[in-house]
């Protein structure tokens, strides 16, 4: 990896989701040298795991195809996957980063022909599907994974499977001796686009996510809706594989809550409205959806989407934070609480319940590689003390995709301003 050339005019982007890709591509297409660092084996981040976007009900992979195309053709962009920044030192216009490169055990020779996957026997929970399905120990993370290269799971190294995989490869692409290595990079500006992770639903004790099979999260439901997902696009109860026709959504599951995330995660209202449509499209006759909410935050143009869903008489909105979930004999989750509009108590059973879990910023305040200003909710504050480290997307706030892209585009300019200044072009 010594061939990576970086200088104090280089922009390093940390995180290869939609925000990081956007920042990286905007800067690279403006002629800047950009290094994009992604922790996972492939780019795409959370967006790649979504089936459809609100409010257009279009497919995230469509925009991703464009972004990947941009990435493939751009000579200014260098992508490092399975890489993590461990240390940052220096100041605006002059940073040094230490980056840990984890072994993929597959080199650039890989053609993604898939022979290794066929021979490996060990299986693991598929991260892409939030563990709802299994994948092989040699795998391509997902259909559109980029780089389009396989990964050998570290857990099969030293087993017979590893040898089988190597023997199956005709392109000398599998290198079982690959070691983790640490490299040092220079950068003038750093864009931090590490995004978010779904809030751990098992911590919301009264909802029993860890106890009831038919209580799942919105991100899991999203995978379920995807025809390429773990259920082939069928909306089914995990307990018995029966179709989930009567479904409840619990909003603010872990958001707007001092016991969990204090902030509003912004996306969950729209995401549940979208997922309500999945249910109604799958079961136009008898699909039934109840959405339990505190405030429906369908801002600006999203209001149209909200209105359309409201017009569907099979979708109801109940202003109530659900108090608890119990389970009946048929494994049906039963929601208990009070409808605050009128004060009616309910105890309603559903085929399946979806927790609209919130966005937890993927920033570890204690272990951030350099001292910058991170607010109490864990997002990066736009502070002068941060020098030339700029947040991009949901590292800055709970943002939906289009706001993330907007924010990421702005972040690219902030980084360009710094490196232009270094190069003597700016003010």
């Amino acid at each position: 990896m010594s061939d990576i050339v970086a200088s104090n005019e280089t922009i390093v982007v940390v995180g290869g989701g939609i925000s990081g890709m956007t920042s990286a591509l905007e800067a690279a297409e403006c002629g800047k040298q950009v290094i994009l660092i992604e922790k996972n084996p492939s780019l795409g981040g959370r967006v790649a795991q979504l089936y459809r976007y609100f409010p257009k009900m279009c497919h995230p992979t469509c925009g991703m195809e464009i972004n990947l195309r941009r990435a493939r053709y751009n000579r200014n962009l260098r992508i490092l996957t399975m890489a993590e920044v461990t240390e940052v030192t220096g100041k605006s216009g002059d940073y040094s980063l230490r980056v840990l490169l984890k072994p993929r055990f597959v080199n650039e020779n890989c053609t993604a022909c898939g022979e290794c996957e066929k021979v490996v026997e060990a299986e693991f929970g598929d991260e892409f599907n939030y563990g709802m399905s299994r994948r092989k120990g040699a795998y391509l993370p997902y259909n559109m994974a980029y780089p389009q290269r396989y990964v050998i799971d570290e857990r099969i190294i030293g087993t017979e499977d590893a040898g089988k995989a190597k023997d199956a490869c005709r392109y000398d692409a599998i290198d079982l001796d690959m070691q983790a290595e640490e490299i040092e990079l220079k950068a003038g500006a750093i864009i931090w686009a590490t995004g978010w992770q779904p809030y751990d639903a098992s911590r919301i004790q009264p909802y029993g996510y860890d106890r009831y099979q038919n209580v799942i999260t919105n991100v899991e439901f999203e995978r379920m809706a995807d025809p390429q997902g773990p259920t082939g696009g069928r909306l089914v109860r995990p307990s018995d594989g029966e179709e989930a026709r009567k479904v409840a959504f619990i909003q603010c599951a872990g958001s707007r809550d001092r016991n969990h995330l204090r902030h509003c995660s912004r996306i969950c209202c729209m995401s549940s409205l979208k997922q309500a449509r999945y249910v109604r499209e799958a079961f136009p006759e008898d699909g039934m959806v109840d959405i339990y909410y505190i405030d429906i935050r369908a801002i600006d143009r999203f209001e149209d989407f909200y209105k359309k869903i409201q017009e569907d008489e099979k979708v109801s909105f109940i202003k109530s934070k659900v108090a608890s979930i119990i389970k009946d004999k048929e494994d049906n989750p039963v929601l208990q609480g009070v409808d605050t509009e009128g004060g009616n108590r309910y105890e309603t059973s559903y085929d399946m319940v979806i927790l609209a879990t919130g966005m937890q910023p993927s920033i570890n305040r204690e272990a951030f590689p350099i001292d910058i200003v991170i607010n109490q909710d864990g997002f990066i504050e736009p502070d002068e003390k941060n020098g030339a480290i700029f947040a991009s997307g949901s590292a800055a706030d709970a943002l939906d995709v289009n706001r993330s892209v907007q924010h990421a585009t702005a972040a690219a300019l902030r980084a360009i301003q710094v490196v232009n200044k270094t190069a003597g072009a700016g003010v």
Binding site: S320, V322, A323, S324, V338, T340, G343, R345
Partner: protein, 208 residues
């Protein structure tokens, strides 16, 4: 002299929220409620409440002074703390409920013949005698609340439980003859008296 209730009505006019903030324990939290209703749903006695906590908070904001203070809803609270644990805004709901009940009583407009209130009085008087609760007497006075005959019936119904408690040394039959007290009962009484004076003084200042 005007009743303290009339004084308060005069003082706060239509602003019941402000009255609650100034006079009710933890009353300043009422404004922080965002009407999610998780407290209402979490209350194990929820069915028994005419107005669940979240609704009471809204009524306070809407200035429904009479409806709130004469309601027996907050007297239903058994201090299970489920609501406090789940409240996304960390409102000390249990305390507010007790505070409201207490305030209503202070104003003398609490619902009459409320069993909770009756029990509180019995409990207090029982405890103040010796500085410790005499559980045997407390239990018996509860059983005999509605007269001698029903008292005998209730007592017999719970005889087994009583015996078990005696066996487990959780209760002594000897308590019937007085029971244990604290070492310095007059000191305790003096202390309580002082506290009551301070409280009355505080109320006078706010209420006057």
């Amino acid at each position: 002299m005007m009743s303290i209730n009339t004084v308060m009505v005069e003082k706060y006019r239509n602003n019941f929220l402000r009255e609650v903030e100034a006079n009710v324990e933890e009353g300043e939290w009422v404004k922080m409620c965002m009407q999610c209703g998780v407290c209402a749903g979490s209350c194990p006695l929820g069915d028994a409440w005419e107005h669940p906590p979240q609704e009471i908070f809204m009524m306070i904001r809407a200035g429904k002074r009479e409806d709130v203070l004469t309601s027996d809803s907050m007297w239903m609270c058994t201090s299970c703390y489920n609501c406090i644990v789940r409240c996304p805004r960390e409102l000390p709901i249990t305390h507010i409920m007790h505070g409201l009940a207490h305030y209503a009583r202070r104003l003398g407009i609490q619902p009459k013949n409320n069993p909770t209130q009756w029990f509180c009085d019995v409990f207090w008087n029982n405890m103040m005698k010796k500085g410790r609760v005499n559980e045997l007497k407390l239990g018996l006075s509860l059983y005999f609340k509605n007269g001698f005959l029903s008292g005998i019936k209730e007592s017999l119904k719970n005889a087994g439980l009583g015996l078990n408690m005696v066996k487990a040394r959780r209760m002594s039959p000897m308590d019937f003859f007085g029971g244990h007290g604290v070492k310095d009962i007059s000191g305790l009484q003096k202390m309580i008296k002082k506290a009551q004076e301070l409280e009355a003084d505080r109320i006078d200042r706010h209420g006057g």
